[in-house]
């Protein structure tokens, strides 16, 4: 019997765009044994809160959860760098038997005394959910003793997928919002949600907003600070990027403080420009819109001629995309189009029905659209479509490389700035630098093609 690349249970999560009716099964639990590329609830919480640089992030659990998330994001800080340390209670058998609350308490006191953070996040892991440590109570006690917020993050790994982790992170942050002084905040102010300052991206985005006369109150969470988040309710608008990793917080803030939100993306020229225009439109001030147009014009003036050089080389090349959240995939589809490239496969770990419908609308016929995929499926798609470049994260990289396919890292580990106008140019460079490398001439895939 031939091995099954696609398991029967997974067929509803894979579509080829065409005349057939489109209904994507998604937001399902990962299938046992399918080797999903997804992580867990803890991972979702950890990546969202990770860039908050002046807080202690203590992982309450056995050592693995902390050690695999040590310094994994390319999230930069302009000041403190507490987020780059990996704190754990390193639970041992005896703690599992007798409970880890005492150890957690001591660890918290020790770390707070040592680092004087502005707050502490305490992440729950699988095992804590089972042994039933009362995180809430320990955090409350330490908070009272140390006079800083100590926030439990209910991120037991097995309680869903990354999405539930996003929610848990947002719930923890929601406890901070509303506790700071908001005097002096401009009417024309926003919070940036869902940018994690990879390679310094949020500094670029903040600069654009400053140039059009908008004050940024809080970065959530790139280069994030506890005190900024505490006064985030003073902003007039939440500008949310990313597929829902911080959308829950925006919803909570809308309900609690009546702050509306916009969904934007900073990837690609079109989406970046539209983000500025949308914010300008929201404030209904002609001067802001005028400045937004100026910023876009200035940036494009230098950008487009350079981009065109890359476009020349890359036109007609085929790209495949597999990312965590679908929102990034929308922008990538457009960005590749700007470079003259064809997207022949696109997928995400955690897209929703609406996300996949949007992907269907913006892709060409024949494009493979996939939810919660795995190495065997992805590799078969790369081969089927004879892809030139694959965009994904670290776990996707060896799939591409093993098959002799170029790769662009667009995940949170990356060290290249890919957002904003400048980021689009970097993206083109990244893609070009991989696709045009002479090494592909030696891989079996191309050697055979040349026979």
């Amino acid at each position: 019997m031939e091995p099954a690349t696609v398991l029967t249970e997974r067929q509803g999560q894979i579509h080829r765009k065409g005349p057939a009716p489109f209904a994507m099964e998604c937001n399902k639990d990962s299938l046992a044994g399918a080797v999903s590329q997804r992580a867990c609830v803890f991972c979702g919480s950890r990546v969202v809160l990770y860039p908050i640089a002046d807080a202690v992030h203590l992982v309450h659990g056995p050592i693995g959860c902390a050690v695999y998330t040590w310094d994994i994001r390319g999230a930069l800080s302009s000041g403190p760098e507490l987020h780059r340390l990996s704190f754990s209670t390193d639970l041992q058998e005896i703690d599992v038997i007798f409970g880890g609350e005492q150890k957690l308490y001591k660890a918290l006191i020790e770390l707070i005394d040592r680092h004087h953070p502005k707050a502490a996040f305490v992440y729950s892991t699988c095992i804590v959910g089972i042994i039933g440590d009362d995180l809430e109570a320990v955090c409350k006690k330490v908070s009272a003793e140390k006079s800083i917020p100590v926030l439990p993050v209910q991120s037991e790994g097995f309680k869903g997928n990354k999405r539930e982790g996003y929610t848990a992170a947002c719930k923890a942050m929601a406890r901070l919002v509303g506790t700071g002084d908001i005097s002096g905040i401009s009417k024309y102010s926003i919070n940036i949600l869902g940018d994690f300052n990879l390679a310094g991206e949020i500094w670029l985005i903040r600069d654009y907003f400053n140039r059009i006369g908008i004050e940024v109150v809080a970065n959530i969470t790139g280069d994030g600070r506890i005190d900024d988040i505490r006064r985030a309710h003073g902003a007039s608008l939440n500008v949310v990027q990313c597929s829902g990793s911080t959308m829950d917080l925006a919803r909570m803030m809308e309900k609690e403080y009546g702050i509306p939100s916009l969904r934007v993306s900073y990837f690609g020229v079109e989406d970046m420009a539209e983000s500025l225009y949308e914010v300008a439109r929201f404030f209904k001030v002609p001067a802001i819109m005028k400045k937004a147009r100026e910023v876009v014009r200035e940036e494009l003036q230098t950008l487009l001629p350079e981009l065109n050089r890359y476009k020349k080389a890359l036109t007609g090349k085929k790209a495949a995309i597999y990312v965590g959240g679908a929102f990034k995939a929308f922008s990538l589809v457009k960005a590749f189009r700007l470079l003259g490239m064809d997207v022949v496969m696109v997928g995400s770990q955690t897209g929703t029905e609406e996300d996949y419908e949007e992907l269907r609308q913006i892709t060409d016929d024949g494009t493979i659209i996939v939810d919660d995929s795995n190495p065997l499926e992805l590799s078969s798609f790369l081969k089927e479509k004879n892809v030139d470049i694959f965009v994904g994260g670290v776990k996707e990289r060896p799939i591409a490389y093993k098959l002799g396919v170029a790769f662009c890292d667009h995940n949170h580990e990356r060290k290249e700035m890919l957002a904003g106008f400048q980021g689009m140019l970097n993206f083109a460079r990244e893609v070009h630098g991989s696709v045009m490398s002479p090494v592909w001439g030696f891989v079996p895939r191309r050697e055979n093609a040349n026979d």
Partner: protein, 451 residues
């Protein structure tokens, strides 16, 4: 000895969790898919961690437990996951390792697997399944690695008529090290069963197709006959009391020779002498010549490194071997540190230093990088030797880091670092000496272009 302060919290752990060790060991067996019984995150995190070192695909399946499984038991999902892995991968063997979640909810994996075998065992293409208990709250990745090797031997090998094969249990060494050991036995013309062997599966060639399971690994047929071998060589001076080697000895009367990792001259001498003693085969001249060249090089370079003070950290057996080598070349190991707690570490360091003029360094088990750094600051050191997670410390203190072992996440080719044998010592010597020369050159106002 107890100069190291003891903290409750762990900061930047110097160890990994148990199931990752088991996964790595399983990956070194022919046709084997590692399978973690737990929540999806564990498998994904470990894959990411392993990929970042080896730059190779590694599919680790998961039973992807959710909340209801945590309450009602994960048996059904384990069985479903096994079926799906069999459908997709057609494995010859599935190596099931537990996680802290499934250990704590009390899943009886042995019983579940027995049920599974009764339900599906009759199928023609049914693979073998071995299982190992690897709760992350008890032991490090090294205990997981050794436990997996032991489980494979105990559950698969059989006794029988003796043959001339040597069993070699190398421990967790690099792909290059494994290739060295295989080459050595090939040179000797001595039949070898080395378990595990991921020299191909985690350091493979460029391919045209994504391998379901990469070729290579210890052949199953050879594992089954390990009880018939002439002798077992088991490498490591800090091993647990009961291992694959002791099981083969006690169950099948296979004589066991436990030796340190052959790092540096004396440990390699001992290793080769043991092989000679067991097999009666003379060590080929080629290896004697490598030893001669190594000694010659050590003479050439000795002045640049004499009296330098080094901190060595990482897995216990690797640290022990490196300490032994440093003593041979005139570098003073001042601190040997590990996150493990075998209880044998100090004894082993002392044993390999016997007969040298080297002072006994401080030796610490169960420490993290916070402890190492705090202690090392008082020890006036010139050099760090260990895996890439020591980089943060090296950078802060402006001390060069010589990268060895696992993981190497910030350089190419970690899997190709050779540590073992005279050849490995030669590479280590050149790297260490050049690192010290480069530091002096870079720091110098003059910048001499001769040494």
């Amino acid at each position: 000895m107890t100069k190291m302060p003891h903290y409750t919290s762990t900061t930047n752990a110097c160890k990994l969790c148990k199931p990752i060790g088991a996964s790595l060991a399983f990956r070194g067996i022919e046709g084997c898919v590692p399978f973690l019984h737990g929540s999806q995150g564990c498998a994904t995190y470990m894959r990411r961690y392993i990929i970042s070192h080896f730059n190779e695909p590694i599919d680790i399946a998961s039973s992807s437990l959710g909340e209801k499984h945590a309450v009602y038991g994960g048996g059904a999902n384990l069985k479903l996951g096994l079926r799906n892995v069999i459908k997709k991968y057609r494995p010859l063997l599935i190596g099931v390792a537990t996680t802290c979640l499934t250990e704590t909810i009390g899943d009886d994996v042995k019983m579940i697997l027995n049920e599974y075998r009764q339900e599906f065992g009759g199928d023609a293409d049914h693979p073998e399944i071995v299982s190992v208990s690897t709760p992350s709250y008890s032991g490090t990745h090294m205990e997981g690695f050794h436990a997996a090797v032991r489980a494979v031997v105990e559950q698969m090998s059989e006794g029988g008529e003796k043959n001339a094969v040597i069993n070699l249990l190398p421990g967790f060494v690099s792909a290059a090290d494994l290739r060295y050991l295989k080459d050595l036995f090939a040179d000797l013309g001595c039949a070898l069963t080395m378990l595990p062997d991921y020299s191909d599966t985690l350091d493979g060639q460029a391919l045209n197709d994504y391998p379901l399971i990469p070729e290579g690994g210890t052949p199953l047929a050879a594992i089954r006959k390990m009880g018939c071998s002439r002798a077992t060589l088991e490498l490591g001076r800090t091993l647990p009391d009961i291992t694959a080697g002791t099981s083969l000895r006690d169950r099948d009367d296979v004589p066991l020779h436990r030796l340190g990792l052959p790092i540096g001259i004396r440990e390699t001498d001992r290793f080769l002498a043991a092989i000679h003693e067991i097999t009666g085969i003379a060590i080929p001249a080629r290896h004697e010549q490598s030893r001669g060249r190594l000694v010659d090089a050590m003479v050439d370079g000795h002045k640049y490194i004499f009296g330098k003070r080094a901190v060595i950290f990482g897995e216990e057996d690797l640290v022990v071997g490196l300490t032994s080598f440093l003593a041979e070349i005139g570098i003073q190991p001042v601190l040997c540190a590990t996150g493990g707690k075998s209880g044998n570490f100090a004894k082993a360091v002392s044993a390999v230093l016997a007969g040298t003029k080297c002072d006994m360094p401080e030796v610490h088990e169960e420490v993290d990088f916070y402890d190492i750094e705090e202690r090392a600051k008082e020890l006036r050191i010139d050099l760090l030797i260990g895996h890439s997670k020591g980089y943060a410390f090296a950078r802060r203190e402006k001390i060069p880091l010589v990268r060895v072992g696992f993981p190497i996440h910030d350089r190419m080719g970690g899997q190709r670092i050779l540590h073992l044998g005279y050849h490995g010592a030669q590479m280590l010597f050149d790297t260490i000496t050049n690192t010290i020369i480069a530091k002096k050159q870079d720091d110098s106002d003059v910048g001499y272009s001769y040494m």
